[in-house]
Amino acid sequence: MKTGLPVIFAVVLGLGGSTVGFVLAPAVQLGGVKQTTVLNSTDLYPPQRIGDATLGLQVYRANGCAACHTEQVRQEGVACDVVLTSAGKNPQAVSNLLATLTMTHLTKEAADTVADQLTAAGGKVETHIVPVGVDLDRGWGVRHSVAEDYVYDYPVQLGNLRAGPDLANIGVRSPDSNWHLLHLYAPASAVSNSKMPSFKYLFNLQKVGASPSPDALSLPSGFAAPAGYEVVPTTEARQLVAYLLSLRANQPVYDAPFTPPAKP
């Protein structure tokens, strides 16, 4: 067998190359990712998932949610907005200058130039970093996803198909657990044109006892249980909702900087 050695060499090169490229290099690059600090703060991000939320990840996985939902927000660009916070001692000069300047959607260099001009005129300015992207316009997130978002996910539920909306920030977008339970039981009751299948098997349809269960869903008419029955979420449903509420990728971190809206 004359070609034996070259074949073995090619196999080793092919398998070895892909192991290095797909396994070893990413592990070296991102294998040591830990909690990070939120920008301009001492808070840690992401918070450790606890209790039901940890178990909910497995329910999410078991029900194949990642087949239709992603957990990754994209960002196409970044812009700077210059915001005048105080006109200072010479408001006339500042307002004359304002009429000639573009203040939003600038590059950092242009924003610095504008900020310098306004500061020279006596005004006080802040430069806000604003992420830009289609996903962000849809309201699916406030910045692109970063490696730290997934530190406590095992396995990571990235998903690659968006039959439903992205869920990376769902805990901020829909913080109401009752809404999530209703939506899981009868998607159309919460979102009229929803294509999501019903996850009725995560709920128990049971006879109303001596007094109605405090956990029973209050379903809108048309979706309500038959008279004398009530719909009560199972433990799995609660865990899944706890997991969904723990998805909160909304903090500015070093890898994905932005200026958070001012606290009231």
Binding site: L39, T42, C80, T85, T127, H128, Y254, P257
Partner: protein, 203 residues
Amino acid sequence: MSDEIKSSLPTPPPDPQPEAVQSNLPIWIVVLTLILIFIGGLYFDQHGGWFQAQVYGPYASADQLELYQPKSGAAAALAHGKVVYEQVCGLCHGVDGLGKPGQAPPLAGSEWVTSAGFNRLAHVPLVGVNGGIKVQGKDWNMAMAAMGAALPDADLASVLTYIRSSWGNKASEVTGEDIHKIRSTLGAHPAPMSGDQMAAMPE
């Protein structure tokens, strides 16, 4: 068609056979490939981020990512002040500014912190206090080292701005230049003031 007729036809000429010849790789292909590799290398250098774990998506390099960190503005200075406060001051004065009995007086609502001027307040971390002071009508008899003496002007200014505008305090901000002025009036190693000396300082 019979064999007889076929044999009577003239023999067709043999098909021309392909022939392998050695020829040099055209030099323009080599040059073009090298030029493309060079352009690709330049593009990667400018946009690839050099495999740095923190550089993603819209950012092309670690330098660009650093450039876009939100730093300017009062909010960022305040946030920086909070970070420095929690590292340097928060251990004794508490991250909630309420102080700790037997360790440090409160800063929230303290007349020392919210005074109109900040000359006296700035002297506290710059030189330290030795002995009793009165805060909100309560006596505190303890020593504070010159915790702020080693901080850069801008850091100390942001800490003072932070404590003067947090936990319900509403007093004016302090700039790095102010701190620089106050610091330049002090010697290289100023001795800690006693509580009474400190209280007698102009605000």
